[in-house]
Symmetry: C2
Subunit: 166 residues, 2 copies
């Protein structure tokens, strides 16, 4: 199913250490996960708005990215102009806790299991840091998506989630 035309060296050169292929739904299209390829903020915010989120000030987004524990881009590979089609980031203390934010797959690329691949990549990356406890807040529309991947919905007797707008 994968037809990635990059060698491992080219992959690391273009997408940085830790980059890896993502199974692609289309043999003509190569997809790559990267933790270190930098983001064009306009492209990132366009992706997040495409899935329905409101725009945020670029200055704050840049600071939030700088202070995030992990930023993952899912790129449609192109030698000269890779396109950002998926994204997720995590905050946390790097050892005990991590919280996942801003999970998005561009609507044109949804329905092919890429969201699951993205979350698998995020979980694996956090596990490599030794982090065992991961949290996230999800919109009601994607609850079944997370439930199907082994996430536990809270509250259910053990822990309860709270939200506060300052």
């Amino acid at each position: 199913m994968i037809s990635l035309s990059l060698t491992t060296e080219e992959l690391i050169d273009a997408y940085g250490e830790g980059a890896c292929e993502c199974p692609s739904p289309n043999a003509q299209m190569s997809l790559v996960f990267s933790q270190s390829r930098s983001f064009d903020l306009v492209e990132l915010e366009q992706l997040l708005q495409a899935v329905g989120w409101s725009q945020r000030p670029f200055r704050k987004v840049r600071m939030a990215l700088d202070n995030s524990l992990l930023k993952v881009g899912l790129w449609q590979h192109d030698p000269s102009f890779p396109r950002l089609i998926g994204f997720a980031r995590c905050t946390g203390d790097g050892v005990l806790e991590a919280t996942v934010w801003d999970v998005a797959i561009h609507p044109l690329y949804q329905g092919f299991g890429l969201g699951k691949q993205l979350m698998d990549y995020v979980n694996k990356s956090l596990r490599n840091l030794g982090i065992r406890r991961i949290t996230l807040f999800a919109d009601p529309g994607v609850v079944s998506f997370y439930l199907s991947q082994g996430w536990l919905l809270e509250p259910k007797g053990h822990r309860c989630a709270f939200w506060y707008a300052n």
Copy 2:
């Protein structure tokens, strides 16, 4: 109700910038919030175990503290040996999101509203950073504590909380 014998200068000297008095339930006892006084890890873990949490490796706790956005200690003031009687820390990206962890008031000091004071101090400190969205996970036994302070319990139609053990 407050009888803090420290001057502002002494307060900052001993507890760092941002330190402030906490209303004390006992006129003979001075309490101080600090964001920068360093913790003795043995004392911190003893406090967290006193409220019922299991011990964690010191190496991991130290790294977690180093990587936390905000660490707040509530100290019973003593000129030579302040005692740590409360604690909370936050992870986050410093601008958009913050998550509160490890909220504890020593059992001997519970029942006097110090937990509410602690959370007020945490919220105010995060607000000063410009952070408007704060999350936390609570044990069922303290749900009413957070509800009474304006926190929203999720899921309730809008957002849902998930938890994953890697």
